[in-house]
């Protein structure tokens, strides 16, 4: 009991000296055919992740859904093996594939135990180079995908997420296009094969490797991907130029009968990741809605109890950036929540952020940088996130120094510049107001 009386439980223990953040850089090598390979070697487990990146996103497609469908269908059969055989081969070695298509690019990744890597890599080679795009596989995929699409459409938050980008960019812009149900019926085998030929080729490919990388891993990659057998004469790296056609109206409402909650999306178009305001705005975003202690969470969840969660975020695409707030709030308190959200944006423009809050966010972000660079897979992701935007590791150094040095006055200026109420788009999906 004596120690208990002496123990000071009120004062926070002194923080340790902030450890220096060592950013482990990816090392670059090249395959014989010129494909750059960026690798991050490390970690405690004998695992390898190889990610192939292609300029094969929705920005590069001529018809809706083609980029996405091509990407998924790679796994569904090659000229040598059907979908089941491919899955069996990978299952046998406990390896797994991950495909994803984004706006600006698409990826095909393989995760494997180090000891089996060279045995499963030929499967990756086959699906990337020789997909079959068999009609029955396309049909099964699209039918089921369409059904999932319809089920998802029942969720207010999904409707909001699907329709909000169109307000910012316009429905004809690749970043703003809202998928329509009938688009699932327009995709033909020829579209997929042509898209694959033009975009999944050695002269448009970049490889990122992470995990315990032994020399043998490089040899295997050279064997499977280093040749000129999958080169295409005209790799289409850039999509067609697109024109911004933002909605003239700022406030939008979509009805959803008998919804218990209203889904809210708010935001605006910003700038590219290399813009001088990009890092300061991200810090401002954290204060507004980017962490658990954010102003939106503190006010709308922790003080008012209007929602289970509310957050804001910044999205950087290759040709544009935007900011958005997302939440689902009780239908009866939706108007009140909107008032509070605008109020929080306004406060950032009119009031100076208290020093204690700013210091807290700086400490939190420093911890976050450490967390986001923990382990080889995370480090590979950090590399990718600058490489995709034509940036390099100096971005992270700049980020760390901006977090350390930025002042409340600077953040207020940023808020005034970008969070004016009349610049914000608003979309509510929910029950009709009484």
């Amino acid at each position: 009991m004596e120690t208990e009386t002496k123990l000071d439980r009120v004062t926070m223990p002194a923080l340790g000296k902030p450890s220096k953040i060592d950013i482990i850089h990816a090392t670059e090598t090249k395959l014989a055919n010129g494909i750059p390979v960026y690798s991050v070697n490390g970690g405690t487990q004998d695992v390898v992740k190889i990610e192939l990146i292609f300029p094969a996103g929705s920005r590069q497609q001529e018809l809706p859904l083609v980029a996405d469908t091509t990407n998924v269908l790679l796994e569904e059969g090659t000229t040598k093996h059907n979908s089941e055989e491919i899955a069996s081969l990978l299952d046998y070695y406990g390896a797994f594939l991950e495909t994803s298509a984004h706006h600006d690019y698409a990826t095909v990744s393989l995760y494997s135990l180090g000891k089996h890597f060279s045995k499963v890599l030929p499967v990756l080679e086959e699906i990337v180079k020789q997909p079959a795009f068999a009609q029955d596989e396309i049909d099964v995929y699209l039918t089921n995908k369409k059904q999932r699409f319809i089920v998802e459409e029942k969720k207010g938050r999904v409707v909001a997420a699907r329709n909000f980008p169109a307000l910012l960019f316009g429905n004809n812009h690749p970043y703003g296009h809202t998928t329509k149900i009938e688009e699932f019926d327009t995709i033909k085998k020829e579209n997929l094969a042509a898209f694959h030929k033009g975009h999944y080729s050695s002269n448009a490919c970049t490889i990122i490797l992470a995990g315990k990388i032994k020399d043998q891993v490089f040899n295997s990659i050279g064997d499977n991907f280093g040749g000129n057998d999958w080169k295409t004469a005209d790799a289409q790296v850039n999509g067609k130029p697109a024109e911004l056609q933002p909605s003239a109206e700022k406030k939008h409402y979509m009805p959803k009968d008998k919804a218990l909650q209203s889904a809210i999306r708010m935001g605006r178009v910003l700038f590219l990741k290399n813009h001088p305001d990009a890092i300061p705005f991200q810090i401002l975003n954290v204060i507004l809605g980017g962490y658990f202690g954010s102003r939106l969470m503190s006010n709308i969840r922790e003080d008012k109890g209007y929602t289970y969660g509310i957050s804001s975020g910044v999205v950087f695409l290759k040709e544009a950036g935007y900011f958005q707030i997302a939440s689902e709030v009780g239908s009866d308190v939706c108007d009140k929540a909107l008032v509070e959200i605008y109020k929080e944006m306004d406060r950032l423009c009119t009031e100076t952020i208290p020093e204690a809050e700013l210091q807290l966010v700086k400490n939190y972000l420093r911890g976050n940088v450490l967390r986001s660079m923990d382990g080889p897979f995370a480090l590979a992701e950090r590399f990718k996130q600058v490489w995709l935007h034509g940036l390099d590791y100096s971005y992270y150094e700049k980020y760390i120094s901006t977090v350390a040095d930025i002042t409340a006055a600077q953040l207020k200026d940023i808020a005034c510049k970008y969070l004016q109420k009349d610049s914000i788009y608003e979309l509510v999906v929910g029950a009709k107001k009484a």
């Binding site: 487990q45 069996s88 046998y92 059904q147 969720k155 909650q261 689902e328 009780g330 807290l360």
Partner: protein, 417 residues
């Protein structure tokens, strides 16, 4: 292989330390041995509501999150039917802040009325978001109720009904804390860039002074063997019909669990799985189908759920599932199916050990299940299951008299036809 060391404080707090110097971070995970199964049937949803209140200030610290964020940390928590688990990660150099925070809320909470009032609303919104305001959301309110008649797994973690949460009062909160939130009902795991000596010293300083409590001995009713098929039909505003079948199976540490997990894998995991090939690809009866277990500590459920393709009746879908399951009972699974399922499991266990958070959580969960040593026996337990074991186990579980079936009908379809 996760190496760890352990000790117990005089007040009964069990401590496990896993050192990983490849990271600059540390993770602190505290598991309290209380879940929704320990709730009063008239006050369900309480363990989970309480988890929210654990962030509403402790006796000496007004704002948990605020302090942790100052230390560069991040945290979260979850409640399930069996346990309540709190975890945080932060730069290892700030580890003492985590001890200060976690020990203070184990010592006592602030019990603020405002916090209770707000978190009640937050949980009600969570209830709407997860269960009421999304298609098929109420399946997880209805299916457990059908499958369990006696055992408290019959209600979900969020609670049986909104009213139970609306009516929670401060007296309930205090009593719950007294009963379950004491050092001898908790397991502390510290992983990451820390040493055993460091953790011992910090435990002596921050946790040792907290007095032991007297957590109740758990005496849960045993679910009687189901002897007759159970059926429920619901009609809802969803776009497509769905079917859910729940079969009673063994507890988390029973051999049954390992067999049924492998079976779930063989049936629906991936493009080479049986039901995916047969029911989605070949017969095109389903747009998606999944088999899984809930991983509950007490005897659990083996679930098959599927969304029906256009034009397929629920009855036809049900029969097709049963036909596939019959094959599992009539003949052993093939050697290569078994091998693939085992290899996938082994590999995902290896991948899961890349994160200090996963490792800490797993150590805590196995410790509460019996012994943290078991974390390193998982792979072997899966590897030991033979084709014959699986057949025996599947024969015991897969039987319509042991099954609760839910037909979830689309209202628009029903009216349209």
């Amino acid at each position: 292989m996760i190496q760890f060391e352990r000790f117990t404080l005089p007040n009964g707090l069990k401590v496990i330390v896993h050192r990983d110097t490849s990271t600059p971070m540390a993770c602190v995970n505290i598991l309290y041995n209380v879940g929704a199964r320990d709730e009063d049937p008239e006050k369900t949803g309480f363990a989970h509501l309480f988890e929210h209140l654990m962030f509403g200030g402790s006796v000496n610290i007004a704002d948990f999150d605020n302090v942790l964020q100052q230390a560069g940390g991040e945290n979260n928590a979850f409640t399930n039917n069996d346990i309540t688990n709190y975890y945080l990660t932060l730069p290892a150099t700030n580890i003492e802040v985590a001890f200060w925070l976690e020990s203070d809320r184990m010592l006592s909470l602030a019990f603020s009325d405002k916090s209770l009032e707000v978190q009640r609303s937050v949980v009600i919104e969570e209830y709407k978001q997860s269960y009421l305001n999304q298609p098929y959301g109420d399946v997880w309110l209805e299916l457990p109720k059908l499958a369990y008649k006696v055992h408290p797994y019959q209600w979900p973690t969020i609670g049986k009904e909104l009213d139970h949460i609306k009516h929670a009062v401060m007296g309930d909160v205090k009593a719950f804390f007294q009963k379950f939130y004491c050092p001898n009902n908790a397991i502390l795991v510290v992983s990451g860039n820390v040493t055993l000596e460091q953790v011992k010293a910090l435990c002596d300083k921050w946790f040792a002074p907290i007095p032991a409590g007297s957590p109740p001995l758990r005496k849960l009713p045993v679910e009687p063997k189901q002897t007759q098929a159970r059926k429920l039909e619901l009609e809802r505003d969803v776009p497509v019909d769905a079917i859910y079948k729940a079969y009673h199976m063994g507890a988390r540490m029973d051999q049954s669990f390992y067999a049924m997990e492998l079976l779930a894998d063989i049936l629906t995991d991936g493009n080479a799985s049986r039901m995916y090939i047969e029911l989605v690809k070949n017969k095109k009866l389903f747009s998606e189908i999944n088999a899984f277990t809930f991983e509950t500590f007490d005897p659990g459920l083996f679930i098959i759920s599927g969304k029906l393709s256009e034009g397929v009746t629920l009855q036809a879908a049900d029969e097709a599932i049963q036909e596939e399951l019959k094959k599992v009972v009539l003949a052993q699974v093939k050697k290569d199916e078994m091998e693939k399922a085992k290899n996938k499991t082994e590999s995902s266990l290896i991948f899961s050990e890349m994160s200090i958070l996963n490792k800490a959580m797993n150590l805590a969960i196995f410790e509460v299940l019996g012994s943290a040593d078991d974390v390193n026996k998982e792979t072997d337990r899966f590897m030991k299951v033979t084709e014959v074991d699986l057949l025996v186990e599947a024969s015991r579980v897969i039987n319509e008299n042991n099954c609760s079936t839910l037909y979830y009908r689309s209202k628009s379809k029903a009216n349209g036809n």
